[in-house]
């Protein structure tokens, strides 16, 4: 048990743990920047699970196994775009409201 490759479950469990911590952060933090940081945590947890599953599927051949890693690469690019646009919106909001507190940003509430 203490030698050799670590089973996939352990990686998926770690990924689930980090994902849940990120989700709790999204729910409990009020500053929009902190919520962004927590969302990044959740994205990375999903990436870890995908890479762990890519290794698990090694018996199905290189094309199938590596598609997990290719998906992670695409998620990375999407996350980079999301951060750029999201932080741009955040700066715009901060200029108007002088606060990144999401509690005060209830302008679109019905």
């Amino acid at each position: 048990m203490l030698s050799g490759l670590v089973p996939t479950e352990y990686y998926v469990a770690l990924s689930a743990l980090v994902f849940v911590i990120g989700a709790v952060g999204v729910l409990t933090r009020r500053s929009a920047i902190m919520i962004f940081l927590s969302v990044e945590l959740m994205l990375n947890a999903a990436n870890l699970a995908l890479i762990a599953f890519a290794r698990q599927w090694a018996t199905a051949g290189a094309a199938v196994a590596l598609s997990g890693q290719a998906a992670v690469f695409i998620i990375l690019a999407v996350a980079a775009a999301e951060v750029a646009v999201g932080l741009g919106i955040l700066v715009a909001i901060f200029r108007y409201r002088h606060s990144a507190d999401v509690d005060t940003l209830s302008g679109v509430r019905l």
Partner: protein, 187 residues
């Protein structure tokens, strides 16, 4: 296994730091620690190219962008109480329940890992060559769409900044008294 436990501990502590630390700069630096630990974990999973990309793009570019915005806005942490007071305890309870439930589900059906030779033959260390081959054959449509998305992101970010600059010009053209009044009403 020992290295995995060490990595998992550091990663969990870093993730908890992101969620609990009050100062945004501290939380962002804690996120850097978590992302670097993730990069090492990718190496142990034979995804070497992605580990390098993780360090360069995530721990490098994205975190620098975060720190830049935090320092530019001089953003403070959470000071006042939550307007919806019940959200915080409910979130903690939900998080613990979901985490425990996921652990049970994950460990309920243990899987057998293929042997090391099969893994090495299929993943080939996850280097840029084999990954690029898959990316440009199976995932070529997704790759193109990511290109379009990045272009849209650039245009969106530029348009946000540009609109702001035009409004600031208009504000500066106003007489000083009017601007002072506007600031007072805003405050």
């Amino acid at each position: 296994m020992l290295s995995f436990i060490l990595l998992a501990t550091v990663m969990t502590v870093g993730a908890l730091g992101v969620v609990t630390l009050r100062q945004p700069v501290h939380a962002a630096l804690s996120l850097v620690g978590t992302l670097l630990t993730l990069a090492i974990t990718y190496v142990t999973l034979q995804a070497h190219f992605l580990a390098a990309v993780q360090v360069i793009v995530y721990a490098g570019a994205i975190t620098v962008l975060f720190l830049f915005v935090i320092m530019l806005l001089n953003a403070q942490g959470d000071e006042r109480a939550h307007r919806l007071g019940w959200v915080k305890p409910a979130a903690y309870v939900t998080g613990v329940v979901v985490a425990v439930g996921l652990m049970f589900t994950i460990f309920a059906s243990p899987t057998t890992l293929p042997d090391a030779a099969t893994i090495s033959a299929a993943l080939q260390g996850g280097n840029a060559g084999v990954l690029g081959e898959v990316l440009f054959s199976q995932f070529v449509l997704a790759f193109q769409l990511v290109g379009v998305l990045l272009l849209t992101g650039i245009v969106g970010a530029v348009s946000l900044v540009e609109r702001r600059a035009a409004q600031e010009d208009r504000e500066q053209e106003l007489p000083a008294t009017t601007q002072r009044e506007r600031e007072l009403t805003r405050a």
